[in-house]
């Protein structure tokens, strides 16, 4: 019984480091397979439902049999399952994701239009959370058990245990509505004020003002992840021999930390950041609902109450696709940064 674990060390040290090209090809193939599986799930989940999909999808909105038959025909539900799957694949690849039951416009257009507020919101929060989180985690690990470490671990663990949308509700109550005599500082929701042109300078500032609270909420929610991971990976590095060597050479503390320990500890954080960029699309469902920001998240949560299946399906496809692509990016980056994982 041989396993890869056993056979790996017996190959020559040179051959162990496979070429980056082969590593790349393997990862790309895996991503394509994952994407295909997403499509399969997407297709069957909505069609292998108990009962008649047309009835489930219509949820009692048809009064006559003729209407039901017409609905079936428009959505191709009167064809055989394999044929439907082929049509589904064809439509997906040409960007036709169906027509929204609520908005009566193509789902593809709807998603494209709603993508940007989400990217803006989650992108900004991810960048802020990475920078602040990594810094907090680094300081905590470096003075392990010190007062800063104890306070920051306590705070980040609490943030980690908190539903991020609840934090958003609290911030709305405190900073947007105001407590007692204190006035609210920020708008309670929306992306911009109705009377301002969004493309002017004033409009940009207005949008930034609207996004402040949601960005703070998401940053606090994500920050916990980064600082906890950074802290534990730096703690792992601190026990390594090369740090002792660096100190023995007479390097100053800060140089050891900056040029030796943190560099290596950043590897896992890099991966998480890259993967989280993929979650950009899906991460904001609750926050956008709470702050009523017209992005993909709000689109999905509104589609839930109809239920607008094609919108849900499209949003799921875009969200999973983004994560798979980002994950591929993370793997490729990791392969470049750390040749050991290519084996």
């Amino acid at each position: 019984m041989t396993t890869t674990l056993v056979t790996a060390p017996t190959t020559s040290p040179v051959g162990r480091h496979r070429s980056y090209g082969r590593y790349l090809a393997g990862k790309i193939l895996g991503a394509v397979a994952s994407l295909f599986f997403v499509l399969v799930v997407n297709f069957f989940l909505f069609r292998v439902l108990p009962g008649d999909p047309a009835r489930t999808l219509g949820r009692g909105r048809f009064s006559s049999a003729a209407q039901l038959a017409e609905f079936r025909h428009t959505y191709g539900l009167d064809e055989s399952l394999p044929r439907q799957f082929v049509t589904f694949l064809h439509n997906t690849f040409t960007g036709q994701l169906g027509i929204s039951l609520r908005y009566r416009v193509p789902v593809g257009d709807l998603i494209w239009e709603r993508l940007w507020p989400t990217v803006m919101l989650v992108g900004t929060s991810t960048i802020l959370a990475t920078l602040i989180g990594v810094y907090i985690g680094m300081l905590g690990a470096w003075n392990r058990g010190g007062p800063f470490d104890r306070v920051s671990t306590g705070v980040t663990l609490t943030l980690y245990s908190m539903p991020e949308w609840w934090l958003g509700l609290l911030l709305i109550a405190g900073l947007a509505v105001g407590i007692g005599p204190l006035p609210g500082l920020f708008p309670t929701g929306g992306l911009h004020s109705t009377d301002v042109d969004p493309s002017s300078l004033k409009g940009v500032l207005d949008t930034a003002w609207h996004l402040t609270l949601p960005v703070i909420t998401l940053t606090l929610a994500y920050l916990a992840d980064y600082s906890l991971v950074m802290r534990s990976s730096l703690l792992d590095e601190l026990g390594e021999d090369y740090l002792l060597t660096a100190r023995a050479k007479g390097l100053r503390d800060i140089a050891v930390r900056r040029h030796h320990a943190v560099r290596n500890a950043l590897l896992p954080t890099t991966t998480i950041t890259a993967i989280n960029i993929g979650f950009v699309v899906s991460g904001a469902i609750t926050i956008e609902t709470v702050f009523s920001i017209p992005g993909l998240g709000l689109l999905s949560s509104e589609a839930l109450s109809i239920p607008d299946y094609w919108v849900l399906q499209g949003a799921f496809l875009v969200a999973s696709g983004a994560v798979i692509v980002a994950n591929l990016g993370a793997n490729l980056l990791y392969g470049l940064l750390d040749p050991r994982v290519r084996t």
Partner: protein, 302 residues
């Protein structure tokens, strides 16, 4: 102490197990944050179990509500009332049952799937094991909330369905952990010895591999409950919970839909959220403490 010669192998095994459990408990006792978590946890479980004693279940019915709409805290209603005039405290106490129940049953589902997939993909080799690993990786990558929303909207809204949705989407972390443990246990000499003696795969797996990975499963379970309770709250908040039951998440959904944060009804928003944070924190702290005790790699100083 009787001499060891007279003991049967089963007795020796039992003694050893008791001794190691005692040692684990001692290490756990020394972990301060773990103990804080444990005390919190016991408190919440007691509240959930004693709910019928602590608060009349009639207080949950909208038609029998006695208070005014969104009354602030008073002597009669220590935490105020909701938009239907029900006491928030009563809702909170009964809500703990639903949150804990969904959290625990989702965890059981997740653990069973995760342990099975991890053991299989770690113990066996070849194409099918590789396929299992691929499936695990796929579930790990797919964003949780969109998948859960799609599943929940397809399955319909009931307590069991929400547990299934959470369980089915949250197992891959466990599977990967179990897989790596299985891979390392598989190469140990005593398993080779068992194979040489003619042990079948089933025997190897149930008698040697499983008992060795169980402690890790246990620590991981505690952490999974935390995630599951958070997920239940979020799904209920999005309106995917059982509409006939009160959970902390559904209370917050109510509070949000009546605009409690803009009308200043803080007593409708703060208590359910604080409960969620405390329970999740408790499970996380206990889980981390268990992990630290059971995983020698993490046991180092302090």
């Amino acid at each position: 102490m009787t001499s060891t010669q007279t003991l049967t192998p089963a007795q020796v095994a039992r003694r050893r197990r008791t001794a190691s459990m005692k040692a684990t408990w001692r290490l756990l006792r020394a972990n301060r944050s773990g103990m804080v978590g444990l005390v919190l946890l016991v408190a919440f479980i007691l509240v959930a179990l004693l709910a019928p004693v602590l608060a009349d279940s009639q207080g949950l019915e909208v038609t029998r509500a006695t208070g005014g709409v969104l009354e602030p805290p008073s002597l009669h209603y220590p935490l105020g009332t909701d938009d239907n005039g029900r006491s928030i405290l009563t809702l909170l106490i009964w809500g703990s049952r639903i949150s804990l129940f969904v959290g625990l049953s989702a965890t059981v589902i997740s653990m069973v799937i995760g342990t099975f997939m991890g053991l299989m993909s770690g113990f066996f080799e070849g194409r099918s094991a590789a396929l299992l690993f691929r499936v695990t990786e796929w579930f790990l990558v797919i964003p949780f909330l969109p998948l859960a929303i799609v599943l929940a909207s397809v399955l319909g809204r009931s307590l069991l369905n929400i547990a299934i949705v959470i369980g089915v989407t949250s197992w891959p972390g466990t599977a990967l952990l179990i897989r790596s443990q299985t891979l390392s246990v598989k190469e140990r000499p005593y398993l080779e010895r068992a194979r040489v003696l003619g042990a079948g795969r089933w025997h190897q797996m149930t008698r040697h591999v499983l008992p060795n990975v169980m402690p890790m499963v246990f620590a991981n379970t505690t952490l999974t409950v935390a995630i599951a309770i958070l997920s239940e709250t979020t799904l209920s908040f999005l309106g995917l919970g059982d509409p006939t039951r009160v959970s902390w998440g559904s209370m917050l959904e109510d509070a949000f839909s009546v605009g409690a944060m803009t009308t200043g009804a803080w007593w409708f928003i703060v208590p359910p959220g604080v409960c969620v944070v405390l329970v999740v924190l408790a499970f996380t702290l206990v889980g981390q403490a268990l992990e630290e005790v059971l995983n020698p790699r993490l046991r180092r100083s302090s």
